[in-house]
Symmetry: none
Subunit: 237 residues, 2 copies
Amino acid sequence: MSIHPIEQRRASEAVRAQLIDLIEKGHYKLNERLPSEAELANSFSVSRSVVREALNSLNAFGLTKSYAGKGTFVASTKLNSRMLIGRFLPPHLGEVRRALEVPSARLAAERRGEEDLARLEELVAQFAATEESGRRVKIDADFHIAIAEATGNPLFPRLIADLRDVLQEQALELATIEGRTAQAAREHQAIFDAIAAGDGEAAARAMDAHLEAVAEHTATPADESAKQAKARRQTGS
Amino acid sequence: MSIHPIEQRRASEAVRAQLIDLIEKGHYKLNERLPSEAELANSFSVSRSVVREALNSLNAFGLTKSYAGKGTFVASTKLNSRMLIGRFLPPHLGEVRRALEVPSARLAAERRGEEDLARLEELVAQFAATEESGRRVKIDADFHIAIAEATGNPLFPRLIADLRDVLQEQALELATIEGRTAQAAREHQAIFDAIAAGDGEAAARAMDAHLEAVAEHTATPADESAKQAKARRQTGS
DNA sequence: GGGCGAGTTGCTGTCCGACAACCTGACCGG
DNA sequence: CCGGTCAGGTTGTCGGACAGCAACTCGCCC
């Protein structure tokens, strides 16, 4: 299931793609030191110059960080699109999220395999059973990403996860509102049921309703907005 | 053009930053050829290696494109997400494109202003009137992006334009098939009519049909069945 | 005179060797 | 035991070299 790249004419591009792949697939873990440029050059059978150009690109993307005299270290395990989407406003991000997740749910319902269902079922149960707010948010994210993965299209989980990250970073306190928990759990269950039944239309409707409800609860009433803006400023770290 | 020597920590980073700045600020315009690596190295007072590493990063970001024997050309005046989405397969990209453009059309119908309509109408007319294939592809792209802009959500045009770029780069010769032109023009007209009428549902349906037709003409016959299953439905509301 | 093909030039892609700056760990002398 | 020194490894930068590609020039041949 390796996404085998589009024919690479230039060696530097090929090396860059392979290194990114290795890092994203977890072959090199976070904060781990990569082999030296000389070793990489040797194992890729190219010169050190080519490796350097590739590493330079990774540094530019924030995937790695190089220190003279020490080596090159993994700074992030995934290319994030934060540079790309990080400057947009939460309402815009949420809208795009909805545009992506509704078809994602539909496709997931049509294509999911058995192991997708097993994972989703477990996440639904975990979400309903988890008390602690932070963990529940994480499980919620995993649930939406698992749906996207069930589409078989790797671009869906990638974009949805990134949007989610940025939204969360911008301090939308999701799912912390009183009484919303039980409701969200029911909505998750409905989405899962539709996907399990293979009913794309129903899955799309359920997901849309879910995101609609989320939007309603995060859209800020006038007096709440000041509080949220304040919270947003404090979560700078 | 006063490019004075740099006094920073890493020369390659400084050169990269300056080149990005020059391109984003319009000092080098779209499709313009940059000075050769040797000239840049000279004017920045660094070696060609450093310039090469910087240019390599720009290529990775999609800002420039280098051709052996010709030179390096400005490919985009702003950072895009090529790195993010450039490694996915065309079918996956197309699927996400559809997921985004259908809601984009719906929102555009609901929110478009008068000047949005004027621009769209002009693009529809231009598309129908243009004979030359290359120009028509460009106008087609502009039409889809203009719709996305009419949503008022800047993230839509951004993502849709990037998806489009990557798809085109991966050598899908869109809209070059005989007889497809007139059909595409009619589909564009239908989308425009729905948007002009402010009918979100109709706009979504028209866009979905349009992308369906495009997919049929560009994709392998293998997944026809999946597409037929998808044809009956409509993106949920 | 006109067309055509062989040089010529300029550019990027790749490789090599070298050296400086820097960090780490081991060794050594006190 | 402690502290300083040194050697080795690593990145950062440099300069040079050559192959391959693309575009242009110019002289040769018809």
